[in-house]
Subunit: 209 residues, 2 copies
DNA sequence: CTTGACTGTGAACGCGCATTCACGATATAG
DNA sequence: CTATATCGTGAATGCGCGTTCACAGTCAAG
Protein backbone atom coordinates (compact mmCIF):
# COMPACT_ATOMS: atom_id res chain seq x y z
CA UNK A 1 0.00 0.00 0.00
CA UNK A 2 2.84 2.36 0.93
CA UNK A 3 4.64 1.31 -2.21
CA UNK A 4 1.51 1.86 -4.21
CA UNK A 5 1.18 5.32 -2.75
CA UNK A 6 4.70 6.42 -3.70
CA UNK A 7 4.14 5.07 -7.16
CA UNK A 8 0.85 6.89 -7.30
CA UNK A 9 2.43 10.12 -6.18
CA UNK A 10 4.94 9.94 -9.00
CA UNK A 11 2.26 8.94 -11.39
CA UNK A 12 0.07 11.81 -10.25
CA UNK A 13 2.91 14.26 -10.80
CA UNK A 14 3.46 12.83 -14.25
CA UNK A 15 -0.19 13.22 -15.00
CA UNK A 16 -0.19 16.85 -13.86
CA UNK A 17 2.67 17.65 -16.20
CA UNK A 18 1.10 15.72 -19.01
CA UNK A 19 -2.15 17.58 -18.59
CA UNK A 20 -0.29 20.88 -18.46
CA UNK A 21 1.23 20.16 -21.84
CA UNK A 22 -2.15 19.14 -23.24
CA UNK A 23 -3.75 22.35 -22.00
CA UNK A 24 -1.03 24.48 -23.54
CA UNK A 25 -1.29 22.62 -26.83
CA UNK A 26 -5.07 22.86 -26.90
CA UNK A 27 -4.99 26.61 -26.53
CA UNK A 28 -2.45 26.98 -29.31
CA UNK A 29 -4.14 24.50 -31.65
CA UNK A 30 -7.53 26.10 -31.22
CA UNK A 31 -6.18 29.56 -31.95
CA UNK A 32 -3.88 28.83 -34.86
CA UNK A 33 -4.80 25.41 -36.18
CA UNK A 34 -2.87 22.18 -35.82
CA UNK A 35 -0.53 22.76 -38.77
CA UNK A 36 0.39 26.28 -37.72
CA UNK A 37 1.65 25.36 -34.27
CA UNK A 38 5.22 24.16 -33.81
CA UNK A 39 6.56 21.89 -31.12
CA UNK A 40 8.77 24.78 -30.02
CA UNK A 41 5.73 26.89 -29.36
CA UNK A 42 4.09 24.17 -27.33
CA UNK A 43 7.34 23.74 -25.42
CA UNK A 44 7.58 27.44 -24.68
CA UNK A 45 3.97 27.75 -23.55
CA UNK A 46 4.13 24.69 -21.34
CA UNK A 47 7.52 25.76 -19.95
CA UNK A 48 9.27 22.57 -20.91
CA UNK A 49 12.04 21.86 -23.39
CA UNK A 50 11.19 20.37 -26.75
CA UNK A 51 12.92 17.15 -25.84
CA UNK A 52 10.83 16.82 -22.71
CA UNK A 53 7.62 16.82 -24.70
CA UNK A 54 8.84 13.68 -26.38
CA UNK A 55 9.18 12.01 -22.98
CA UNK A 56 5.41 12.31 -22.67
CA UNK A 57 4.21 11.96 -26.25
CA UNK A 58 5.93 10.19 -29.10
CA UNK A 59 4.82 12.75 -31.69
CA UNK A 60 2.98 15.99 -32.26
CA UNK A 61 0.14 14.00 -33.68
CA UNK A 62 -0.22 12.02 -30.48
CA UNK A 63 -0.69 15.23 -28.54
CA UNK A 64 -3.49 16.20 -30.86
CA UNK A 65 -4.98 12.74 -30.62
CA UNK A 66 -4.93 12.78 -26.83
CA UNK A 67 -6.65 16.15 -26.70
CA UNK A 68 -9.39 15.07 -29.03
CA UNK A 69 -10.10 11.77 -27.34
CA UNK A 70 -10.04 13.22 -23.86
CA UNK A 71 -12.46 16.01 -24.71
CA UNK A 72 -14.72 13.95 -26.88
CA UNK A 73 -15.07 11.46 -24.07
CA UNK A 74 -16.01 14.12 -21.54
CA UNK A 75 -18.37 15.94 -23.91
CA UNK A 76 -20.35 12.96 -24.99
CA UNK A 77 -20.63 11.48 -21.54
CA UNK A 78 -22.03 14.76 -20.25
CA UNK A 79 -24.43 15.24 -23.14
CA UNK A 80 -25.79 11.70 -23.03
CA UNK A 81 -26.35 12.13 -19.33
CA UNK A 82 -28.39 15.28 -19.86
CA UNK A 83 -30.54 13.51 -22.43
CA UNK A 84 -31.60 10.91 -19.90
CA UNK A 85 -32.96 13.50 -17.51
CA UNK A 86 -36.14 15.57 -17.48
CA UNK A 87 -39.78 14.88 -16.68
CA UNK A 88 -41.01 15.05 -20.23
CA UNK A 89 -39.46 15.58 -23.65
CA UNK A 90 -39.73 19.34 -23.51
CA UNK A 91 -37.96 19.34 -20.19
CA UNK A 92 -35.27 17.04 -21.53
CA UNK A 93 -34.60 19.35 -24.43
CA UNK A 94 -34.29 22.31 -22.09
CA UNK A 95 -31.82 20.45 -19.94
CA UNK A 96 -29.89 19.37 -23.01
CA UNK A 97 -29.61 22.90 -24.34
CA UNK A 98 -28.53 24.23 -20.94
CA UNK A 99 -25.96 21.50 -20.45
CA UNK A 100 -24.51 21.92 -23.89
CA UNK A 101 -24.27 25.65 -23.46
CA UNK A 102 -22.36 25.37 -20.19
CA UNK A 103 -20.15 22.62 -21.50
CA UNK A 104 -19.25 24.53 -24.63
CA UNK A 105 -18.70 27.82 -22.86
CA UNK A 106 -16.33 26.27 -20.37
CA UNK A 107 -14.46 24.49 -23.15
CA UNK A 108 -14.61 26.95 -25.98
CA UNK A 109 -11.10 26.11 -27.14
CA UNK A 110 -11.79 22.40 -27.39
CA UNK A 111 -15.03 23.01 -29.25
CA UNK A 112 -13.36 25.29 -31.74
CA UNK A 113 -10.54 22.84 -32.34
CA UNK A 114 -12.96 19.98 -32.76
CA UNK A 115 -15.01 21.82 -35.34
CA UNK A 116 -12.09 23.25 -37.22
CA UNK A 117 -10.28 19.95 -37.64
CA UNK A 118 -13.34 17.76 -38.12
CA UNK A 119 -14.77 19.65 -41.03
CA UNK A 120 -12.60 17.82 -43.53
CA UNK A 121 -14.12 14.39 -43.63
CA UNK A 122 -12.18 11.37 -44.82
CA UNK A 123 -8.82 12.96 -45.09
CA UNK A 124 -7.81 13.74 -41.52
CA UNK A 125 -4.30 12.37 -41.85
CA UNK A 126 -4.69 12.00 -38.14
CA UNK A 127 -5.25 8.28 -37.76
CA UNK A 128 -8.60 6.58 -37.49
CA UNK A 129 -9.30 8.89 -34.60
CA UNK A 130 -12.11 10.21 -36.65
CA UNK A 131 -13.96 6.95 -36.24
CA UNK A 132 -14.05 7.02 -32.47
CA UNK A 133 -14.97 10.69 -32.21
CA UNK A 134 -17.52 10.42 -34.95
CA UNK A 135 -19.12 7.40 -33.38
CA UNK A 136 -19.65 9.23 -30.11
CA UNK A 137 -21.11 12.20 -31.92
CA UNK A 138 -23.51 9.99 -33.80
CA UNK A 139 -24.58 8.34 -30.58
CA UNK A 140 -25.63 11.67 -29.06
CA UNK A 141 -27.38 12.64 -32.26
CA UNK A 142 -29.22 9.33 -32.25
CA UNK A 143 -30.31 9.76 -28.66
CA UNK A 144 -31.51 13.28 -29.40
CA UNK A 145 -33.51 11.90 -32.31
CA UNK A 146 -35.30 9.43 -30.06
CA UNK A 147 -36.30 12.26 -27.75
CA UNK A 148 -38.12 13.89 -30.64
CA UNK A 149 -39.61 10.54 -31.59
CA UNK A 150 -40.93 9.90 -28.11
CA UNK A 151 -42.39 13.40 -28.00
CA UNK A 152 -44.27 12.73 -31.21
CA UNK A 153 -45.59 9.37 -30.10
CA UNK A 154 -46.89 10.92 -26.90
CA UNK A 155 -48.63 13.61 -28.93
CA UNK A 156 -46.51 16.25 -27.28
CA UNK A 157 -44.91 17.27 -30.56
CA UNK A 158 -46.38 17.87 -33.99
CA UNK A 159 -44.84 15.90 -36.82
CA UNK A 160 -43.45 18.90 -38.65
CA UNK A 161 -40.38 17.03 -39.87
CA UNK A 162 -38.37 13.84 -39.49
CA UNK A 163 -37.16 13.42 -35.91
CA UNK A 164 -33.60 13.05 -37.16
CA UNK A 165 -33.96 16.27 -39.12
CA UNK A 166 -35.18 18.04 -36.01
CA UNK A 167 -32.20 16.76 -34.07
CA UNK A 168 -29.88 18.15 -36.72
CA UNK A 169 -31.78 21.42 -36.81
CA UNK A 170 -31.67 21.94 -33.07
CA UNK A 171 -27.97 21.28 -32.85
CA UNK A 172 -27.11 23.44 -35.81
CA UNK A 173 -29.08 26.40 -34.53
CA UNK A 174 -27.53 25.99 -31.13
CA UNK A 175 -24.02 25.75 -32.54
CA UNK A 176 -24.51 28.91 -34.54
CA UNK A 177 -25.40 30.89 -31.46
CA UNK A 178 -22.57 29.40 -29.49
CA UNK A 179 -20.04 30.19 -32.18
CA UNK A 180 -21.29 33.73 -32.54
CA UNK A 181 -20.74 34.12 -28.83
CA UNK A 182 -17.28 32.62 -28.95
CA UNK A 183 -16.33 34.92 -31.81
CA UNK A 184 -17.49 38.09 -30.17
CA UNK A 185 -18.84 37.62 -26.64
CA UNK A 186 -19.53 41.33 -26.17
CA UNK A 187 -21.49 41.94 -29.32
CA UNK A 188 -23.52 38.72 -29.52
CA UNK A 189 -24.78 37.98 -26.07
CA UNK A 190 -25.93 34.43 -25.61
CA UNK A 191 -29.49 34.14 -24.28
CA UNK A 192 -29.53 32.64 -20.82
CA UNK A 193 -32.98 31.16 -21.30
CA UNK A 194 -32.87 27.94 -23.31
CA UNK A 195 -36.35 28.71 -24.59
CA UNK A 196 -34.98 31.46 -26.80
CA UNK A 197 -33.28 28.72 -28.77
CA UNK A 198 -36.02 26.16 -28.44
CA UNK A 199 -38.84 28.51 -29.40
CA UNK A 200 -37.42 28.79 -32.87
CA UNK A 201 -38.42 25.16 -33.21
CA UNK A 202 -41.34 25.11 -30.81
CA UNK A 203 -43.36 28.00 -32.15
CA UNK A 204 -44.57 28.29 -35.70
CA UNK A 205 -43.27 31.27 -37.61
CA UNK A 206 -46.05 31.32 -40.16
CA UNK A 207 -49.27 32.96 -39.03
CA UNK A 208 -52.17 30.68 -39.86
CA UNK A 209 -54.95 32.61 -41.61
CA UNK B 1 -9.68 46.88 -82.78
CA UNK B 2 -7.66 44.16 -84.50
CA UNK B 3 -4.84 44.82 -82.09
CA UNK B 4 -7.27 44.68 -79.22
CA UNK B 5 -8.55 41.37 -80.48
CA UNK B 6 -5.10 39.74 -80.64
CA UNK B 7 -4.38 41.00 -77.19
CA UNK B 8 -7.71 39.68 -76.07
CA UNK B 9 -7.05 36.32 -77.61
CA UNK B 10 -3.77 35.99 -75.75
CA UNK B 11 -5.36 37.34 -72.65
CA UNK B 12 -8.20 34.84 -72.96
CA UNK B 13 -5.74 32.00 -73.25
CA UNK B 14 -3.91 33.24 -70.19
CA UNK B 15 -7.16 33.42 -68.33
CA UNK B 16 -8.07 29.88 -69.27
CA UNK B 17 -4.80 28.59 -67.93
CA UNK B 18 -5.07 30.72 -64.84
CA UNK B 19 -8.53 29.40 -64.17
CA UNK B 20 -7.36 25.84 -64.74
CA UNK B 21 -4.75 26.28 -62.02
CA UNK B 22 -7.33 27.79 -59.69
CA UNK B 23 -9.70 24.90 -60.24
CA UNK B 24 -7.01 22.34 -59.53
CA UNK B 25 -5.92 24.19 -56.40
CA UNK B 26 -9.49 24.55 -55.17
CA UNK B 27 -10.11 20.85 -55.42
CA UNK B 28 -6.93 20.03 -53.52
CA UNK B 29 -7.40 22.73 -50.87
CA UNK B 30 -10.96 21.70 -50.18
CA UNK B 31 -9.99 18.05 -49.79
CA UNK B 32 -6.82 18.38 -47.75
CA UNK B 33 -6.74 21.88 -46.34
CA UNK B 34 -4.55 24.77 -47.37
CA UNK B 35 -1.52 23.78 -45.29
CA UNK B 36 -1.53 20.19 -46.43
CA UNK B 37 -1.31 20.93 -50.13
CA UNK B 38 2.10 21.55 -51.73
CA UNK B 39 2.87 23.62 -54.78
CA UNK B 40 4.16 20.44 -56.39
CA UNK B 41 0.76 18.83 -55.99
CA UNK B 42 -0.97 21.81 -57.52
CA UNK B 43 1.54 21.74 -60.37
CA UNK B 44 0.97 18.06 -61.00
CA UNK B 45 -2.81 18.33 -60.93
CA UNK B 46 -2.89 21.35 -63.19
CA UNK B 47 -0.32 19.78 -65.54
CA UNK B 48 2.12 22.65 -65.29
CA UNK B 49 5.59 22.87 -63.83
CA UNK B 50 6.06 24.46 -60.44
CA UNK B 51 7.89 27.38 -61.98
CA UNK B 52 4.99 28.07 -64.32
CA UNK B 53 2.61 28.55 -61.43
CA UNK B 54 4.76 31.45 -60.34
CA UNK B 55 4.29 33.06 -63.74
CA UNK B 56 0.60 33.37 -62.84
CA UNK B 57 0.66 33.85 -59.07
CA UNK B 58 3.44 35.29 -56.97
CA UNK B 59 2.81 32.92 -54.07
CA UNK B 60 0.77 30.00 -52.83
CA UNK B 61 -1.15 32.40 -50.66
CA UNK B 62 -2.19 34.45 -53.67
CA UNK B 63 -3.72 31.37 -55.25
CA UNK B 64 -5.77 30.83 -52.14
CA UNK B 65 -6.72 34.49 -52.03
CA UNK B 66 -7.86 34.47 -55.65
CA UNK B 67 -10.02 31.42 -55.11
CA UNK B 68 -11.70 32.88 -52.07
CA UNK B 69 -12.39 36.28 -53.58
CA UNK B 70 -13.64 34.90 -56.87
CA UNK B 71 -16.07 32.52 -55.21
CA UNK B 72 -17.20 34.86 -52.51
CA UNK B 73 -18.03 37.42 -55.15
CA UNK B 74 -20.09 35.00 -57.17
CA UNK B 75 -21.85 33.50 -54.16
CA UNK B 76 -22.91 36.72 -52.61
CA UNK B 77 -24.02 38.31 -55.84
CA UNK B 78 -26.23 35.32 -56.54
CA UNK B 79 -27.67 35.15 -53.04
CA UNK B 80 -28.45 38.85 -52.82
CA UNK B 81 -30.17 38.60 -56.18
CA UNK B 82 -32.39 35.79 -54.95
CA UNK B 83 -33.36 37.80 -51.89
CA UNK B 84 -34.74 40.60 -54.02
CA UNK B 85 -37.14 38.29 -55.83
CA UNK B 86 -40.44 36.75 -54.84
CA UNK B 87 -44.00 37.96 -54.49
CA UNK B 88 -44.10 37.90 -50.72
CA UNK B 89 -41.66 37.07 -47.93
CA UNK B 90 -42.53 33.37 -47.89
CA UNK B 91 -41.91 33.21 -51.59
CA UNK B 92 -38.62 35.04 -51.20
CA UNK B 93 -37.43 32.59 -48.59
CA UNK B 94 -38.33 29.68 -50.84
CA UNK B 95 -36.38 31.19 -53.70
CA UNK B 96 -33.45 31.89 -51.39
CA UNK B 97 -33.32 28.32 -50.12
CA UNK B 98 -33.57 26.95 -53.65
CA UNK B 99 -30.87 29.25 -54.98
CA UNK B 100 -28.51 28.53 -52.14
CA UNK B 101 -28.99 24.82 -52.52
CA UNK B 102 -28.18 24.89 -56.22
CA UNK B 103 -25.27 27.24 -55.73
CA UNK B 104 -23.74 25.15 -52.98
CA UNK B 105 -24.27 21.85 -54.74
CA UNK B 106 -22.58 23.09 -57.87
CA UNK B 107 -19.70 24.49 -55.86
CA UNK B 108 -19.35 22.01 -53.03
CA UNK B 109 -15.57 22.28 -53.02
CA UNK B 110 -15.56 26.04 -52.68
CA UNK B 111 -18.12 25.92 -49.91
CA UNK B 112 -16.15 23.38 -47.99
CA UNK B 113 -12.93 25.33 -48.33
CA UNK B 114 -14.64 28.52 -47.28
CA UNK B 115 -16.04 26.97 -44.15
CA UNK B 116 -12.93 25.09 -43.19
CA UNK B 117 -10.60 28.05 -43.47
CA UNK B 118 -12.98 30.67 -42.14
CA UNK B 119 -13.67 28.96 -38.86
CA UNK B 120 -10.58 30.41 -37.20
CA UNK B 121 -11.48 34.04 -36.80
CA UNK B 122 -8.79 36.70 -36.36
CA UNK B 123 -5.83 34.58 -37.12
CA UNK B 124 -6.12 33.74 -40.79
CA UNK B 125 -2.55 34.66 -41.63
CA UNK B 126 -4.01 35.09 -45.05
CA UNK B 127 -4.10 38.87 -45.36
CA UNK B 128 -7.09 41.01 -44.55
CA UNK B 129 -8.96 38.89 -47.04
CA UNK B 130 -11.17 37.97 -44.15
CA UNK B 131 -12.54 41.47 -44.08
CA UNK B 132 -13.81 41.49 -47.63
CA UNK B 133 -15.29 38.00 -47.48
CA UNK B 134 -16.79 38.59 -44.07
CA UNK B 135 -18.32 41.85 -45.16
CA UNK B 136 -20.11 40.19 -48.05
CA UNK B 137 -21.36 37.43 -45.83
CA UNK B 138 -22.71 39.95 -43.34
CA UNK B 139 -24.47 41.80 -46.11
CA UNK B 140 -26.41 38.71 -47.16
CA UNK B 141 -27.21 37.94 -43.55
CA UNK B 142 -28.46 41.50 -43.08
CA UNK B 143 -30.64 41.30 -46.14
CA UNK B 144 -32.10 38.00 -44.97
CA UNK B 145 -32.85 39.61 -41.62
CA UNK B 146 -34.85 42.36 -43.28
CA UNK B 147 -36.92 39.78 -45.10
CA UNK B 148 -38.00 38.37 -41.75
CA UNK B 149 -38.61 41.89 -40.45
CA UNK B 150 -40.83 42.79 -43.38
CA UNK B 151 -42.77 39.58 -42.95
CA UNK B 152 -43.43 40.42 -39.34
CA UNK B 153 -44.52 43.98 -40.07
CA UNK B 154 -46.96 42.72 -42.66
CA UNK B 155 -48.37 40.26 -40.14
CA UNK B 156 -47.27 37.36 -42.30
CA UNK B 157 -44.91 36.04 -39.64
CA UNK B 158 -45.31 35.60 -35.92
CA UNK B 159 -42.69 37.24 -33.75
CA UNK B 160 -41.29 34.04 -32.34
CA UNK B 161 -37.73 35.39 -32.18
CA UNK B 162 -35.50 38.24 -33.23
CA UNK B 163 -35.40 38.56 -37.02
CA UNK B 164 -31.60 38.38 -36.96
CA UNK B 165 -31.81 35.20 -34.91
CA UNK B 166 -34.19 33.71 -37.43
CA UNK B 167 -31.80 34.57 -40.23
CA UNK B 168 -29.02 32.79 -38.39
CA UNK B 169 -31.26 29.84 -37.63
CA UNK B 170 -32.41 29.40 -41.21
CA UNK B 171 -28.90 29.50 -42.58
CA UNK B 172 -27.49 27.16 -39.97
CA UNK B 173 -30.19 24.56 -40.51
CA UNK B 174 -29.74 24.82 -44.23
CA UNK B 175 -25.96 24.48 -43.98
CA UNK B 176 -26.27 21.39 -41.86
CA UNK B 177 -28.36 19.64 -44.44
CA UNK B 178 -26.09 20.73 -47.24
CA UNK B 179 -23.00 19.49 -45.44
CA UNK B 180 -24.59 16.18 -44.65
CA UNK B 181 -25.32 15.81 -48.31
CA UNK B 182 -21.78 16.75 -49.31
CA UNK B 183 -20.36 14.26 -46.83
CA UNK B 184 -22.43 11.34 -47.97
CA UNK B 185 -24.72 12.10 -50.91
CA UNK B 186 -26.09 8.56 -51.05
CA UNK B 187 -27.06 8.16 -47.44
CA UNK B 188 -28.41 11.63 -46.70
CA UNK B 189 -30.54 12.63 -49.60
CA UNK B 190 -31.24 16.32 -49.78
CA UNK B 191 -34.95 17.21 -49.97
CA UNK B 192 -35.80 18.79 -53.27
CA UNK B 193 -38.67 20.75 -51.81
CA UNK B 194 -37.45 23.88 -49.99
CA UNK B 195 -40.43 23.61 -47.67
CA UNK B 196 -38.89 20.64 -45.93
CA UNK B 197 -36.26 23.04 -44.64
CA UNK B 198 -38.55 25.98 -44.18
CA UNK B 199 -41.27 24.05 -42.35
CA UNK B 200 -38.89 23.49 -39.48
CA UNK B 201 -39.18 27.22 -38.92
CA UNK B 202 -42.64 27.77 -40.32
CA UNK B 203 -44.56 25.18 -38.36
CA UNK B 204 -44.65 25.01 -34.60
CA UNK B 205 -43.30 21.80 -33.11
CA UNK B 206 -45.13 22.11 -29.82
CA UNK B 207 -48.75 20.98 -29.88
CA UNK B 208 -50.88 23.66 -28.26
CA UNK B 209 -53.27 22.16 -25.76
C1' DC C 1 18.38 30.23 -91.63
C1' DT C 2 19.18 33.73 -87.79
C1' DT C 3 17.61 36.62 -84.23
C1' DG C 4 15.09 37.70 -80.37
C1' DA C 5 11.13 37.68 -77.49
C1' DC C 6 8.32 34.74 -74.89
C1' DT C 7 6.68 30.41 -72.56
C1' DG C 8 7.33 26.84 -69.69
C1' DT C 9 10.65 23.97 -67.02
C1' DG C 10 12.40 21.44 -62.88
C1' DA C 11 16.70 21.09 -60.38
C1' DA C 12 18.65 23.72 -56.71
C1' DC C 13 18.38 26.82 -52.57
C1' DG C 14 17.16 28.16 -48.01
C1' DC C 15 14.26 27.89 -44.29
C1' DG C 16 11.29 26.03 -40.81
C1' DC C 17 10.00 22.38 -38.31
C1' DA C 18 9.40 17.50 -36.20
C1' DT C 19 12.28 14.45 -34.17
C1' DT C 20 16.60 12.71 -31.94
C1' DC C 21 20.37 12.15 -28.79
C1' DA C 22 24.42 12.94 -26.13
C1' DC C 23 24.96 15.31 -22.09
C1' DG C 24 24.35 17.84 -17.60
C1' DA C 25 21.28 18.10 -13.44
C1' DT C 26 18.83 15.94 -9.90
C1' DA C 27 17.21 12.48 -7.04
C1' DT C 28 17.56 7.76 -4.90
C1' DA C 29 20.13 3.94 -2.99
C1' DG C 30 23.96 1.84 -0.68
C1' DC D 1 30.09 10.62 -0.07
C1' DT D 2 29.86 7.56 -4.34
C1' DA D 3 27.22 5.09 -7.66
C1' DT D 4 23.24 4.59 -10.39
C1' DA D 5 18.96 5.56 -12.27
C1' DT D 6 15.79 9.12 -13.73
C1' DC D 7 14.67 13.62 -15.46
C1' DG D 8 15.08 17.37 -18.36
C1' DT D 9 17.67 19.82 -21.93
C1' DG D 10 18.41 22.25 -26.41
C1' DA D 11 21.71 22.05 -30.13
C1' DA D 12 22.13 19.06 -34.13
C1' DT D 13 19.86 16.33 -37.91
C1' DG D 14 17.20 15.37 -41.80
C1' DC D 15 13.37 16.31 -44.49
C1' DG D 16 9.64 18.68 -46.88
C1' DC D 17 8.18 22.54 -49.03
C1' DG D 18 7.82 27.45 -50.96
C1' DT D 19 10.34 30.02 -53.96
C1' DT D 20 13.92 31.12 -57.52
C1' DC D 21 16.50 31.09 -61.73
C1' DA D 22 19.34 29.67 -65.49
C1' DC D 23 18.04 27.28 -69.34
C1' DA D 24 15.53 24.66 -73.22
C1' DG D 25 11.77 24.81 -76.47
C1' DT D 26 8.62 27.52 -79.48
C1' DC D 27 7.23 30.80 -82.60
C1' DA D 28 7.28 35.30 -85.41
C1' DA D 29 9.82 38.56 -87.84
C1' DG D 30 13.60 39.80 -90.79
Amino acid sequence: MAQEKTLTRREKEKQRQRQYILDAALELFSQKGYSNVSMNEIAEKSEFAVGTLYKFFCSKEEIYKSIMLQNSERFHRTLLESLSEGNDEVDTLRKYVRTKRELFFENAAAVQLYHAETIRKGFDAKVGLDDEVRERHDQVQQELTTVFERGMKKGLFNKIAEPSHLAIALDSIHHSFIFLWIEDPDKNEYPDDPDVILNILFKGLLREP
